[in-house]
Symmetry: C3
Subunit: 147 residues, 3 copies
């Protein structure tokens, strides 16, 4: 007999090709579907301090371009005075852009699906210039019975 409550944490490797936002929505949806939780939560977590999460407008690509440009301006690489610069001008700015966005995001699940709105996508926000492999953890937790 399947237990009425379950928790399943899975690890995922996401390759990035430098600064920008990478759509994690299909990964989220598939991971929730595979867990067979009908009512509960999906917790997404980035195991890094120079990449982060945002839930963002998914329809018009210029919205994401404006997002990237905004963070270049709010946390500029050419700013003077950073001490933590061992890995280059995108080192400290990566930590600051990460801290202004999200490390964890929790999305409720109902009827077996995450409740993202029509225009919401879940994105990995890469803050480093160089390509990286990023580790994302997803915990799906809740009831396998209808609410």
């Amino acid at each position: 007999m399947q237990p009425p409550f379950l928790s399943r944490t899975t690890r995922h490797e996401i390759p990035t090709q430098g600064k920008g936002t990478y759509d994690l929505t299909p990964l989220l949806t598939e991971t929730v579907a595979r867990a067979q939780v009908l009512d509960g939560t999906a917790t997404v977590f980035v195991a890094h301090t120079s990449a982060s999460l945002v839930i963002f407008e998914n329809a018009d690509p210029t919205a994401r371009a404006d997002l990237h440009a905004f963070f270049e301006q709010l946390v500029p690489e050419h700013a003077q005075g950073y001490q933590h610069t061992a890995e280059g001008p995108d080192d400290m700015t990566s930590h600051l852009r990460m801290v202004l966005t999200r490390t964890s995001e929790v999305i409720p699940i109902t009827r077996g699906c995450p409740v993202l709105g029509t225009w919401q996508g879940l994105y990995l926000f890469e803050h480093r210039r160089a390509p990286h492999r990023r580790t994302i953890w997803i915990n799906v937790q809740g009831s396998t019975l209808p609410a």
Copy 2:
């Protein structure tokens, strides 16, 4: 027999009358009470990309006025260079103000109540000028037995 563990996700429609913060604390408290979870978590989620959540000072209304003014300044509508402007000057700024605050917030529950501090209120932060109906999801999950 009531199950010792449960998860209940509910949908709520919140009308807003333009930019500002709207108190969701009574909705949170009632939703947690109704679920009869004694120890667990309440996950609040906004299903939009131009409105967000903040947990904020609930006593002095000038604190919220200063919050609103701060975001007008940090992400100004008169800024040049946004590409995503189809819906007016409060379009792209809404997405940026949302991304700097929260889409999801998780509040632990103990003895059947969310653990908000004395001066903490949960607010919906509306970033658009026009009135909207906003969809909020609340998942309450945990044990129906005392810890």
Copy 3:
């Protein structure tokens, strides 16, 4: 027989000695270990509006020094025009710095441990100049059986 699913919310008092970041990682790890949850989530929540949470670079102390300096600049105490100033120049700035960082953070648990990355530490971010005692709540929830 131990139940296969459990939720345990505990309260912790953290003393701070003025502005800065205070490492909560050992508290998180111990609280998760004590709960005996093998797969699930740890939700950390600050019950205050002038202190917050960040998951941040834990190796090089200059990264945290740059973080502190960045927030002094992004939300400056010498800014004109705040109305909410009853408790001094670090009053309103504390609320704004809190709202730009996190009140809650959720970390998945697998094999009985939080999934923090190698360079990730969980920090309490104190925004007030004076020493305070801060209340942190931690909910640990999930399965006591291996996934």
